[in-house]
């Protein structure tokens, strides 16, 4: 049986040379992400801003959105956003935070139920109070920062500091781009998005660590090759694995995004984006950045020699 070979043996792509394109590209994408984030903002869900979301399904054939809108605006709940959702029978209602704190907040659902229970089934009800949402924002932010820090420390122990810094820069790159993804697509940003971001961080680091492991191994093995060349060799020798693993994850996620239902679609799309970006950043950001961070050949991890090979250094900056 002939096996599928996605990456031919003995590839010799000049990945490091490509940094003249990849660095400006990454910088540009990061800037676009930040600008979009500031300009458009994210479509923040009630998890983080508080409020009420109710998913209704008409007991009859279709939902009468105009009528729902009218009834809802008569309930004195402030702005009520009414939106079709999936099939013509399904409607989503979003009600903002109420003045008067948690107690007023808790009344919203009761009012909605009285108004709509007869004609619609309440498929889903979510109410998040002002303080809970604040805490969720806080916990989410702390979580992401803490994760990056802990991983930095772990990598610092396992490798030289340059690798830890490189991995963190690549991770921040993925993080910024993912936030940009949420801003551009306006996919709702909620608690599962924090899970998505941390999964992306985990995956991207996994990829980076595999590449770095190879770099370290080759650093120990070859003391006479230039860093530039050595990094290219590492990328090429792990390329097949990088591609195959990414494709496996991407296949799984496409299936989940297409068939998994509306609830997890946003989550899966974000992961899909993150895995593509994470794979890209391991090869085109995490590895070439080592050149600038001053990793020295002939001084592989564990080795103690202090005499940097001049030829190697010039090779690295060529």
């Amino acid at each position: 049986m002939k096996l599928l070979r996605l990456v031919p043996d003995n590839t010799r792509f000049g990945f490091m040379r490509f940094r003249r394109v990849s660095f400006p590209l990454s910088a540009l994408l990061s800037i676009v992400s930040v600008v979009t984030f500031i300009w458009l903002g994210m479509n923040v869900g009630i998890d983080f801003k508080g409020g009420t979301v109710v998913e209704l399904q008409a007991r009859g054939d279709r939902a009468n959105i105009a009528q729902i809108r009218e009834t809802a605006s008569g309930l004195n709940l402030g702005d009520v956003e009414v939106q079709e959702f999936g099939s013509p029978r399904d409607v989503i209602l979003r009600v903002g935070l109420q003045e008067g704190g948690d107690a007023a907040q808790a009344q919203v659902v009761a009012k909605l139920r009285t108004a709509f229970e007869a004609a619609y089934e309440f498929r889903r009800v979510e109410v998040v109070g002002p303080r809970v949402s604040q805490e969720l924002v806080q916990n989410g932010t702390i979580g992401v920062l803490l994760a990056i820090m802990v991983i930095l420390i772990y990598l610092w122990f396992r490798y030289e500091w340059q690798f830890a810094v490189g991995a963190v820069i690549a991770t921040m790159h993925d993080l910024v781009l993912t936030i940009g993804f949420y801003a551009v697509t306006q996919i709702q940003f909620d608690q599962t998005s924090i899970a998505a971001i941390l999964t992306i961080i985990g995956y991207s680091l996994n990829d980076t660590v595999v590449v770095y492991d190879r770099v370290r191994e080759l650093l120990r093995k070859y003391k006479k090759i230039g860093l530039h060349e050595l990094l290219d060799l590492s990328m090429n020798s792990t390329l097949s694995r990088t591609i195959i693993t990414s494709i496996t994850a991407i296949l799984a996620l496409i299936a989940l995004a297409v068939f998994g239902g509306d609830t997890i679609q946003g989550f899966c799309l974000a992961l899909l984006f993150g895995i593509v970006v994470g794979t890209y950043s391991s090869i085109f950001v995490a590895a070439p950045i080592l050149i600038y961070l001053g990793v020295r050949v002939g001084e592989g991890v564990g080795a103690t020699s202090g005499n940097a090979d001049k030829a190697v250094n010039s090779g690295a900056t060529k």
Partner: protein
Amino acid sequence: MFRQSTLKTVLIAFTLFFAAYVSLPTILGQDRMKAITGMLPSFLVPKGAIKLGLDLRGGVHVMLETDKAGLSRDLVRQLQEDVRRVLRNERVAPTGGIVAQNRGVSFRVADAAARARILPKIQELSVPVSNAVLGNTGQRSLEVVDLGDGLIQLVITDAELNERIRRAVDQSIEIFRRRIDPEGVKEPTIQRQGLDRIVVQVPGAQNSKEITDVLQPGKLEFRMVAEPGANPAEIETLPYTDEGGGTIQIERRVLVRGEDLTSAEPTFDQRTGEPVVSFRFNVKGAQAFAKVTTENVGKPFAIILDNKVISAPRIISPITQGQGQISGRFTVERANQLAILLRSGALPASFTLVEERTVGAGLGADSIDAAVLASIVSLVAISIFTLATYGVFGAIALVALAVNFLLLIALMALIGSTLTLPGIAGIVLTLAIAVDSNVLIYERIREEQAAGRSAISSLDSGFTRALATILDANITGFLAHAILYFVGTGAVKGFAVTTCLGLGTTIFTAFTLTRMMVAAWYRWFKPKSVPI
């Protein structure tokens, strides 16, 4: 490497067998499980199964928060009473009364001799704060400050307040359980979260009102209606729900509390036919009630529920039998509910709803269908791709994947974890990434072979060299998700647990099972080169 010890093989086989055994209830479902294992002795039958989260099963999740300010007000009021009692016993009258403050009370005793006499007694009110977890905390409940000029201030310490909140929450959890599930059939989860919050989850419930209805404190008090000219410091104005509303002046002093009730039943008033709640006091309550009603014949007293006066009848004759009834223009339903509230005991604090997530049974079922379909499509896609890429070795990887899945289910069943929708996505993603460990090993073997090694030597160094990489990669992933577990809530926590367990099982299968299978394949075929 390929000389695998028999012991190791046996251990792996045993692990797999055990995993399959533990997963049985989850895979078959509890009902079918019962049908099959009905005749086996019960200790042989595995019990734990993975529970479906509310997002898949449908149900109500609410988070409630204690009214800390209210609790603190109660403490201050009680402190005021205590101080009043001490001063009365010592026959000392404070100038200007005992003033309630935000977190304590203050009073002025100008006479130095009297002050010296009462201070030790006042000090005695401050007791060590003990704690169920730590025992004695070494802190005291009150801080007594002499502000000079005869002014004495008592401040409730943080330790005391927090301990009271903690205790109130614990008691409330028990009371909620009795109220929400009096018959013990609904499998509710009621847990403390943080210091002052309670999470209540009721699977199958369709409307959070079922739960919020029983959240009223149910604090019942009998007090006297204030007479004209009473000391303003000792009375308060409460809303009156009978007789067309309005407010009514009530003495602060509580004569009998709801705790002294032994029973409460919904019945009908024999004369008017109106729904009422009839109750009976315990001995202590009955005595107190008899004493009060004997002393106050002809005066009105008030029945107060959750700081609202529901009725204020006049005492016609002393009630010495220790029973009575509460009327307040109730509906039958309300009388029934009130009886449950009173029977289960009053909540020591009031609660506000701060978060609700309700999923209807219909949506839950739809989500399961979608998730199952998506998972199957996903796994089929992964299988085809893996087989196409690695052939025989792909098949080995898939067997490892299946075992990985089994181990994951077994672990989740063992720790009794809950499967949520993001959790399912987590499992699928974990499996997809688990293939990575096989990919790492195989690619390494391929490289070693390309470098001119023999089949056996490529296999050997492929496994050995990939090990470090796999460990590093999985540990970083593990760290990220462990943190997600600590900061996340609900469904997200489930996702984190699943992923962490999956990373563990991945490492296990990669280094035991995959290795064993590859070794068996090599011994069987004795190939000159590895077809990879």
